[in-house]
């Protein structure tokens, strides 16, 4: 234990009220930061997980005609803007695209989807639905559909071509359950009869209230589509690499490729804005705690002028005096961060048990939280920086005090 550390410890423990005041500021600042980040990121991460679990991390969609810009001659009056791409609905040769894309080490699996909008009827209820014609085995590998089933069986769906999986909120809307019949209206005006094999809940309102899964071949016949797939969805080893892979797939396959970040950009921005707003608010709380510590340490320097002069007369250097006050700050920051992290974890746990009934953008019965060590590390870092800044000025002031002036003044 160095002499400045020892003296700092003694100074702190002898001023219990000031210590408690400083400590509580850091503890609550850190705890509130952790808890609010856990909540905001909890909702955001749940949305991302559910979205990727249903729609894949990457989607290859319509074929487009490449723009041969280097070959184009711009007219004199033209503003020079390049022409827009020409898109052709559906995937051309999906099996070949899937075969090639599986060669990419980032790709875990991929699944073709034939998508179309149809009307559904069950009993007296009608709804417009988003029909996903899928290959059950490939889709189960690529998405979280197996985990999303809340009723029924995936095997019943896989083994029966006239079976469908219905989104949970759509099932409520159509007042249908497993074993019931749902009729889907084909473009030619015919109703096709399906049996509900399972109910799925992705947790995202827009998916659960519109989606029906059927076998791809049946969907192709019902939708009267020449193409076997309108998109291919991908499961990736590292979902953060989706934008890079999307760009490569576009160039390689001449098909529109969308990463999940691009696909959900507006919602993600909303979550990010919310997180930043909360982070700024809570950072201000921590800064306020830092200001409190600044006041406490400044008062401490004023109260300890005599002690500082004594220490200097006994051979303590300016940097030793400075270290005494910086150590006080560091001890407050360290103890405050540890206690703040514990309190933050406790608050996060408590918040995760608060019942709420969300049925809008997301489906949840409890507050969603994320347990992420980064929140704890960042809150601690923030507290350390705030306290260091708060301690630095009083420490410097203490170090600059001339001992002779104090001793003369005390005579």
């Amino acid at each position: 234990m160095t002499p400045p550390f020892y003296i700092a410890l003694r100074f702190l423990t002898n001023r219990k009220r000031a210590l408690l005041l400083s400590l509580s500021g850091v503890v609550f600042g850190v705890a509130i930061f952790i808890c609010t980040q856990a909540q905001t990121q909890g909702f955001s991460r749940y949305f991302i997980e559910s979205n990727i679990g249903s729609n894949g991390a990457l989607v290859v969609k319509s074929r487009f005609r490449p723009r041969y810009e280097p070959l184009m001659v711009t007219a004199k009056n033209s503003k020079g803007t390049a022409g827009r791409r020409l898109y052709f609905e559906g995937i051309t040769n999906p099996n070949e695209i899937m075969r090639v894309s599986r060669q990419f080490p980032d790709v875990i699996s991929c699944s073709p989807v034939l998508r179309g909008t149809v009307s559904a009827r069950a009993g007296f209820e009608n709804a417009t639905v988003d029909l996903y014609g899928i290959d059950p085995a490939l889709h189960a590998q690529t998405t979280d559909i197996l985990n999303q089933l809340i009723d029924g069986s995936f095997d019943d769906f896989r083994n029966n071509t006239s079976a469908i999986i219905v989104g949970s909120r759509l099932a409520e809307l159509l007042q249908t359950s497993v074993g019931d019949t749902v009729q889907l209206l084909a473009p030619n005006g015919e109703y096709w009869r399906f049996t509900v094999a399972a109910i799925a809940r992705a947790g995202i309102g827009s998916i659960d209230s519109t989606r029906i899964y059927s076998h791809a071949r049946v969907a192709q016949a019902l939708l009267q589509q020449p193409s076997g797939a309108s998109m291919i969805i991908y499961k990736l080893r590292d979902r953060d690499r989706a934008p890079i892979l999307a760009s490569r797939f576009e160039t390689l396959f001449q098909h529109d490729a969308l990463s999940w970040q691009e696909r959900e950009e507006s919602t993600l921005q909303l979550f990010l804005t919310l997180r930043m707003s909360v982070a700024i608010t809570v950072s201000l709380i921590i800064l306020l705690a830092g200001f409190g510590i600044f006041n406490v340490l400044t008062m401490s320097v004023l109260a300890k002028i005599k002690e500082i002069a004594i220490l200097r007369s006994m051979g303590y250097r300016r940097k030793d005096i400075s270290a005494i006050f910086l150590w006080q700050g560091a001890l407050i920051a360290a103890a405050g961060s540890v206690l703040g992290c514990l309190l933050g974890a406790l608050m996060t746990w408590g918040v995760s048990h608060i019942p709420i009934h969300l049925r809008g953008l997301l489906y949840t019965n409890y507050f969603l939280v994320t347990w992420d060590w980064h929140h704890y590390a960042f809150a601690t870092l923030l507290a350390l920086v705030a306290v260091f800044i708060a301690s630095y000025v009083p420490a410097r002031r203490a170090a600059e005090l001339a001992p002779v002036a104090t001793i003369r003044g005390s005579r």
Binding site: P3, R10, M314, V404, S410
Partner: protein, 235 residues
């Protein structure tokens, strides 16, 4: 003076204050303090006694002149080096004892030892205990200094000044705040230390009895030593 010089200064000049309030506190003061001798600086208030002590104690820097510890000139050293010299060679005793209020008597005495860093925690505790025992406070080691009487606090300050076994002890009116009995006791203690352990003591005092008991008396007036008298012939 024929003995080995422990602390000396040569033509020290020191100005205090700024502009109109500027005072010429020391006007070319020279002094030599031998090992094993007790020196008293006397004179009216404001004559420069304390200023001289602070300069000699390396707490203040002279505007001109030279301060030496034994044979080494120290007045040009950096702030950190001066602090190191203070820690190793000089023990200070102030009129108002200047103890750390929240620390016990023993902890106060250990503070200079902690900085020197030559002893273990146990050794420091033992040495602090011995020093406090030597000043008659062996039974009050763990008492917070604010709970000690004025005389006891001054004795703790004396023990603390001796913590690192300094060559030089500088005392600024060490008995100024004590009653006669405590004054005599404190001074006797210091005097014995100097003579028995070969230290050098320079004290500023208003107390004529104490001054008379010193080996040397230096009379100061207006920032100058106007007279130096050898009081006792030592063996």
């Amino acid at each position: 003076m024929s003995g080995q010089v422990s602390l000396s200064c040569d033509r020290i000049e020191r100005y205090l204050g700024e502009e109109e309030e500027r005072v010429h506190a020391l006007r070319g003061v020279s002094l030599e303090i031998e090992i094993g001798s007790v020196h008293a600086v006397v004179g009216p208030s404001g004559c420069g006694k304390s200023s001289l002590l602070y300069v000699l104690g390396l707490l203040d820097t002279p505007d001109a002149g030279r301060v030496s510890i034994e044979t080494e000139t120290v007045s040009h050293l950096s702030d950190d080096e001066l602090a190191q010299k203070r820690n190793e060679f000089i023990g200070f005793i102030f009129q108002f004892h200047f103890l750390m209020e929240d620390f016990t008597a023993q902890e106060n005495v250990m503070i200079p030892m902690r900085k020197l860093g030559q002893l273990s925690e146990t050794q420091m505790r033992d040495r602090a205990g011995e020093l406090l025992d030597g000043v008659g406070l062996g039974d009050k080691l763990r008492r917070p200094s604010r709970h000690l009487s004025g005389g006891e606090q001054q004795r703790v300050a004396i023990a603390r000044a001796l913590a690192n076994d300094p060559h030089i002890i500088l005392a600024d009116e060490p008995t100024g705040n004590l009653d006669t009995a405590n004054s005599e006791r404190a001074f006797e203690l210091l005097q014995n230390l100097v003579h028995e352990r070969g230290k050098a003591l320079l004290l500023a005092t208003h107390n004529p009895t104490i001054a008379e008991a010193c080996d040397w008396i230096h009379e100061m007036r207006d920032g100058l030593i106007i007279d130096s008298q050898l009081r006792t012939a030592r063996s």
